[in-house]
């Protein structure tokens, strides 16, 4: 492993070598990292004033998926652990939320929280193999797990108010979305609610990465041995990362369960997790903004292309070409590229100001 890393150090282009070198700088600017989720949230809250009901629904889904992407970005981008089961986890979150909601006993926010706790605990269980596996193995095992979960869900279906533990009634028709909170009954209000919750998830992730766990994760990512030698409880922090990622994804799943349309198994095929990874790699794995972009790419871009009359087959092709293209030409992804360009622009502006 070391040899490989040394090898890369010697030859890879600068930005490929240190995709996260920027994080070090960001750590020392406590505010800037929190500014943009706040900015995004504010913008998103204003958005409904300008867009149609259709786009509000689309963007609600995009927000949810950006949190799923965020989970992956924490796991892979920060700790170096790969989970190709994020979409299945989203499904599990959705299932749990619908089931919890069906009891009618909990207020919505508590359903969200409880779902997060449930998926977080599941995350710890999934994290156990991650203690021993790394790289492609972990990726593939989680993909297998996702495939298995999907088959189970195909057989159990999503709860629709039926009896028993599964809460599924085969005779009843239609999807049954999770009941929304009273403050967010309409689509617009629910969009705002979703954006706020998603922004909270981003803040949670940022708080983690900027604190003690973030530094521990950075150490683990580079070398587990070095991390142990530095006194880091690798087991704890790996499980913590999984729990956090699954907590966030579970909450997202719960949000999805209450969005327009409800849930069906079809929307969580295992290969979608690979697509999520692809979108995130394209968007930028090492910047949290990348997760937002990934969510938009997965849910809003198809809608956009559709309004332009592009067929879904073309969308697949465009997505495929785009994926390869960004992986080859800009390893830090769209978000990384963007922030670099912005930084360069900022520098130029500053120079101009000082010289004038």
């Amino acid at each position: 492993m070391n040899v490989l890393e040394d090898a890369h150090r010697a030859t890879a282009p600068d930005h490929a070598r240190h995709p996260t070198a920027a994080i070090g700088h960001r750590l020392r600017q406590p505010l800037s990292a929190a500014v943009w989720p706040a900015g995004v949230a504010a913008a998103a809250l204003l958005l409904p004033l300008f867009t149609s009901a259709y786009w509000i629904q689309v963007l609600t889904a995009a927000a949810v998926f950006s949190v799923a992407a965020l989970g992956l970005s924490v796991l892979y981008g920060r700790v170096g652990l790969i989970s190709l089961g994020q979409i299945a986890m989203l499904a599990v979150g959705g299932w749990a939320a619908e089931r919890l909601g069906q009891t009618g006993a909990l207020p919505f926010w508590l359903v969200l929280l409880a779902t997060g706790v449930v998926t977080g605990l599941i995350g710890i269980v999934i994290g156990l193999p991650a203690l021993r596996l790394s790289g492609l193995y972990l990726a593939l095992i989680t993909l297998m797990l996702a495939a298995a979960v999907t088959i189970v869900l195909t057989n159990t279906n999503f709860p629709n108010g039926g009896p028993g533990f599964l809460g599924y009634d085969p005779v009843k028709s239609g999807t049954v979305p999770l009941a929304r909170p009273a403050v967010a009954a309409g689509d617009t209000a629910y969009f705002r609610y979703t954006v706020v919750v998603c922004a909270l998830m981003f803040l949670l992730a940022i708080a983690h990465t900027r604190g003690r766990p973030g530094r521990a994760w950075a150490a683990i990512r580079q070398s587990e041995h070095a991390a142990v030698a530095a006194g880091i409880n690798v087991t704890l922090y790996k499980l913590w990362a999984f729990a956090l990622a699954c907590f966030m994804t579970g909450v997202a799943g719960a949000l999805l369960a209450a969005s327009a349309g409800g849930l069906t198994v079809y929307q969580f095929p295992p290969q979608e997790s690979i697509t999520l990874l692809a979108a995130l790699l394209m968007a930028g794995m090492y910047h949290f903004a990348g997760a937002v972009v990934a969510g938009l790419m997965l849910k809003a871009m198809p809608a956009l292309l559709d309004t332009w009359g592009v067929s879904s087959n073309v969308l697949l092709i465009v997505f495929g070409v785009g994926l390869v293209q960004t992986l080859v030409t800009s390893p830090e992804g769209i978000a990384g590229q963007l922030s670099r360009d912005l930084a360069r622009l900022g520098a130029r502006v500053r120079v101009r100001r000082t010289t004038s």
Binding site: M1, V3, A7, A10, P13
Partner: protein
């Protein structure tokens, strides 16, 4: 590969950038056949960068690399290697998941069938330690054993130019001592050898000519004897850097 015909490697005005920064400025260097040339210099001087450029891994932004009359500038690593220039970069770069055996076999791939076997035999004579580790993946080797593998890889293929970055890295003194006459022999057989070595005394003991690289420029070129006789010339190069650091850039 006789003493008379072996070509020398000429480095002319080489300029190499890493990232956005130019790390080597107009480096001029001859590596003549039949002798060992030493390259010394402090950390960060650009020695390893030069080695990578010689190996074709880094593309120079200016200058030329010539093997005798042959143009090597901008050639890809495998072409450079095929031309007879074997480069051992720093950092024990081997094929980590392949066994020691396969590491050596991969190194002699470009040779003919007969010379392949002979090359591997030769490498094993030099590093008999590797025999016991024959079927172990290279990543499981100790640091010194890995260094032996990369040296064996270079020597097994009988190059006409041999460039070694940090020859003795992690090697036990006894191994270094065993290697010194080997390198002298290799050079004597007509190979041009460029040696980068942390222990100046080892490098100077082998070398005929020595160069000091500092801050990406050649600061001294002369005989090895001259440096042996005047160790302060060496320290001067290092001091130069300390001064450079103090002055604002």
């Amino acid at each position: 590969m006789t003493v008379t015909t072996a070509p020398a490697l000429h480095v002319e005005g080489l300029r190499v950038a890493r990232g956005t920064r130019t790390v080597l400025h107009d480096v001029r260097l001859d590596i003549p056949a039949g002798e060992v040339t030493a390259l010394l210099g402090p950390n960060g001087a650009g020695k390893s960068t030069l080695v990578l450029a010689l190996g074709g891994v880094l593309r120079p932004t200016g200058g030329r690399l010539l093997l005798g009359e042959r143009e090597l500038t901008g050639r890809r690593p495998e072409k450079v290697r095929a031309a007879g220039v074997a480069v051992v970069p720093e950092g024990r770069r081997l094929l980590p998941s392949l066994t020691v055996r396969d590491n050596l076999h991969a190194a002699v791939y470009a040779l003919g069938r007969e010379s392949r076997r002979a090359g591997v035999e030769y490498a094993l004579e030099l590093f008999p330690e590797l025999r016991q580790r024959w079927h172990i993946p290279a990543r499981a080797l100790s640091g010194g054993q890995q260094q032996m593998v990369v040296l064996a890889q270079a020597l097994a293929s009988r190059p006409s130019v041999l460039v070694v970055d940090e020859l003795s890295l992690g090697l036990a003194p006894v191994v270094v001592k065993r290697l010194m006459p080997v390198l002298a022999d290799v050079a004597a057989a007509g190979t041009a050898v460029l040696l980068i070595e942390q222990f100046a005394h080892v490098a100077l003991a082998l070398a005929t000519t020595a160069h000091i690289l500092e801050g990406g420029r050649i600061r001294f070129s002369g005989t090895a004897q001259e440096l042996k006789d005047n160790p302060d010339k060496l320290s001067a190069a290092y001091l130069l850097r300390t001064n450079a650091e103090d002055s604002p850039s």
